[in-house]
């Protein structure tokens, strides 16, 4: 178990003008479960692979347990990785797959089978030890991949989107298993995913990346309640936060004719980007407030989500989302007049996207 540090780590492919990872500065505490999340091409997998030693570091350095590993090959870094497609050895049994690294390291056979048996028990794989990967289901293969990492007793676990090949229900199930396993073993884990729900539910802290640049790192609650910029605001939370252009006039933010008092301690003027989460707005009784024409209503049981277009800005590309209770749901074609909770609004600079206040 060890802390991991990215120090100004940069990865630039030869011949490309923009670095895949640009000056990443990230400290991961010993035993922490950190999730790297972001859209495709944001550099999260590249960062993980640099940590693994599978990609070269162009500039900067990487430390594991205080030791500079930037130039060390993967096998000398004392890490283990779970691949997106599991990368199991097709010609070996589950037991041989899990014991392969130990065999290479020259460990004695009795010790290898003991370790493999222990890991198999934790992961419920004991009855599959003699099967080949071909005879396993997706979820079982995923557990074998994890078992292969666990037996190594590494300082750091690396996981590259291990759940993305599972069906939705299995994904939810395995998510909790992985989180509780990590808590039980206490090994520092760096976990890459594009699914922000996974990120929010699994990590001690979440690091959001975009275009190779770290946007924000913090707990799920911090990212949800205090996004540092418009990108994080729109990325974290599902359905996404509504972002509308608005104007600050006389101590109030005016959007679509609806004035909202400025949150305390926020200095802003002129044009701003106003962020409101779907649960921060609700249909008002009177025909005042922000008018939204309903396009689609999604009923998911306890709640319903209303997708529409604000009347004052019908050219908005992304729909405006409102969460309403599951009973008495409005219908498509109606116009909602919305009230906004002034304590739950976020203001961003329209040019830089940075948070104001």
């Amino acid at each position: 178990m060890a802390a991991v540090t990215f120090a100004q780590t940069t990865q630039r492919y030869p011949g490309s003008d923009r670095p895949a990872v640009d000056g990443l500065d990230l400290e991961i505490a010993d035993g922490e479960f950190l999730v790297l999340v972001g859209p495709s091409g944001c550099g999260k997998s590249t960062s993980l692979r640099m940590l693994a030693g599978l990609e070269d570091v162009t500039e900067g350095s990487i430390l594991i347990g205080g030791r500079d590993v930037t130039d060390l090959p993967p096998k000398d870094r004392d890490i283990a990785m779970v691949f997106q497609n599991y990368a199991l050895y097709p010609h070996m049994t589950v037991g041989q797959n899990m014991g392969f690294a130990l065999k290479i390291a020259g460990m004695d056979k009795a010790e290898i089978s003991r370790r493999v048996a222990d890991a198999a028990e934790i992961l419920d794989l004991t009855e599959y030890l003699d099967r080949k990967p071909k005879a396993l289901s997706g979820g079982q293969r995923q557990r074998v991949a994890m078992g292969r990492a666990i037996v190594r007793n590494p300082q750091v676990f690396l996981m590259d989107e291990p759940l993305s090949n599972l069906d939705a229900k299995l994904r939810v199930q395995t998510r909790t298993q992985i989180a509780s396993l990590q808590r039980r073993l206490g090994v520092t884990t760096v976990y890459v995913t594009h699914d922000q729900v996974e990120a929010m539910t699994m990590g001690d802290r979440v690091a959001v990346l975009k275009d190779g640049v770290l946007q924000q790192v913090g707990t799920a609650r911090e990212l949800y309640d205090h996004p540092d910029n418009a990108f994080v605001a729109g990325f974290i939370g599902s359905p996404a936060m509504n972002l509308l252009p608005a104007r600050v006039e006389g101590g109030e933010v005016v959007v679509g004719g609806l004035p909202i008092p400025l949150p305390a301690g926020v200095q802003a003027s002129g044009e701003v980007l106003l962020g409101m989460r779907p649960e921060a707005v609700w249909p008002a009784d009177a025909p005042t407030g922000l008018a939204v024409e309903i396009d689609v209503v999604e009923e998911i049981g306890a709640d319903a989500f209303v997708y529409g277009r604000p009347q004052h800005a019908t050219d908005q590309k992304t729909p405006f989302v409102v969460r309403v209770p599951g009973r008495g749901v409005p219908r498509a074609g109606q116009t909602l007049h919305l009230d906004v909770d002034p304590r739950q609004v976020h203001l961003f600079d329209p040019a830089s996207g940075l948070r104001l206040g």
């Binding site: 030693g53 096998k75 990368a87 199991l88 050895y89 010609h91 392969f100 690294a101 290479i104 080949k132």
Partner: protein, 319 residues
């Protein structure tokens, strides 16, 4: 009134059930089957005329006194077989063919594997090398043999010119002059001609190994040699099995290259089994019956060898 569904009528209370009504669909199925047979007929005919009939003919010949010019003179089993097996060149030919097969297979597949490993990276240089390894496949084996016949000629061989020029050897080397030299010179020809082809087959096998398996091996601490031994080779087993079977079968039936390069010489030291069959049929005694008997023996040997290979090389069906 006609029914449109082929169901059995419901059982009646009184009397026995009527037998199920034959559905109309059968007539269409029968017509489809007839149509299918008609489509397959030309190929079936081709197969029968050019494959089944000759094989039956060979079996018939092998038990008959059948000369090249005298024709079928009646049954004489098992005389053809005993005379073929007693031929003074039979066991030498078998021995030589087996020796040639082992030598060629080991060298050819080893070289092809090395080439495939070198060339599997993508890149402009490796694409060029890959293509140049495949160029010899454009020549038929007979043409390639003629080419090498000229290259090995004692009077005008460019190899000899190079050897003299570099000072390695003073006198011109006779490539086909001794039994050993003849064998190795022929092996060189065959390797030149076929290495590219087998390299291609092994390349396909190599590329079917998923890339992240190698990354996993790197993380597990395997060195290049360990990765090759424990990951690449086992996963290549199906491809290697295919190449081995192709190479062994092809080598056991070697004819063109020896007929053109050495004509079985010097002194009958490079006579292969098929050459023996040929010479029995069209030279010397012109005895088709005996040649056919020898062919049947070769067939039997091939079947046994292929069965052994299949069982031994079946490898991991789960990989």
């Amino acid at each position: 009134m006609a029914t449109t569904h082929s169901t059995a009528p419901p059982p009646t209370e009184d009397g026995p059930r009527r037998p199920a009504v034959r559905p109309r669909v059968t007539r269409r199925a029968r017509a489809r089957r007839r149509q299918g047979a008609l489509y397959a007929a030309p190929t079936a005919l081709f197969l029968i005329v050019f494959f089944v009939v000759p094989v039956i003919l060979v079996f018939r010949m092998s038990v008959s006194d059948w000369g090249l010019f005298t024709g079928d003179l009646g049954l004489n089993a098992p005389e053809n077989f005993t005379k073929a097996l007693d031929d003074r060149l039979f066991w030498p030919a078998v021995w030589f063919t087996l020796k040639y097969t082992v030598v060629t297979t080991v060298i050819l597949l080893g070289l092809a594997l090395a080439m495939a490993l070198v060339v599997q990276e993508s890149g402009r240089w490796s694409a060029f090398v890959r293509t140049s390894f495949l160029v010899p496949s454009a020549l038929g084996l007979a043409s390639a043999s003629l080419l090498f016949y000229a290259l090995y000629s004692p009077q005008a061989s460019p190899f000899n010119a190079v050897l003299e020029w570099t000072g390695i050897s003073e006198d011109p080397v006779s490539f086909l002059g001794s039994p050993d030299r003849a064998l190795w010179s022929t092996v060189a020809l065959v390797v030149w001609r076929f290495a590219g082809f087998y390299m291609l087959l092994l390349l396909v096998g190599l590329q079917s190994i998923p890339g992240d398996v190698y990354e996993a091996a790197r993380l597990d601490g395997a060195s290049a040699l360990q990765t090759f031994r424990r990951i690449t080779l086992p996963l290549l087993k199906p491809s290697l099995a295919l190449c081995t079977i192709l190479c062994v079968t092809g080598s056991l039936l070697a004819f063109d290259q020896f007929y053109i390069l050495t004509k079985g010489g010097p002194d009958n030291s490079t006579v292969t089994i098929v050459q023996l069959v040929y010479s029995m049929a069209f030279q010397g005694s012109n005895d088709l019956g005996r040649a056919a008997a020898l062919s049947i023996v070769v067939l039997g040997g091939l079947i046994v060898l292929n069965a052994v290979q299949f069982l031994g090389l079946r490898g991991d069906k789960d990989a």
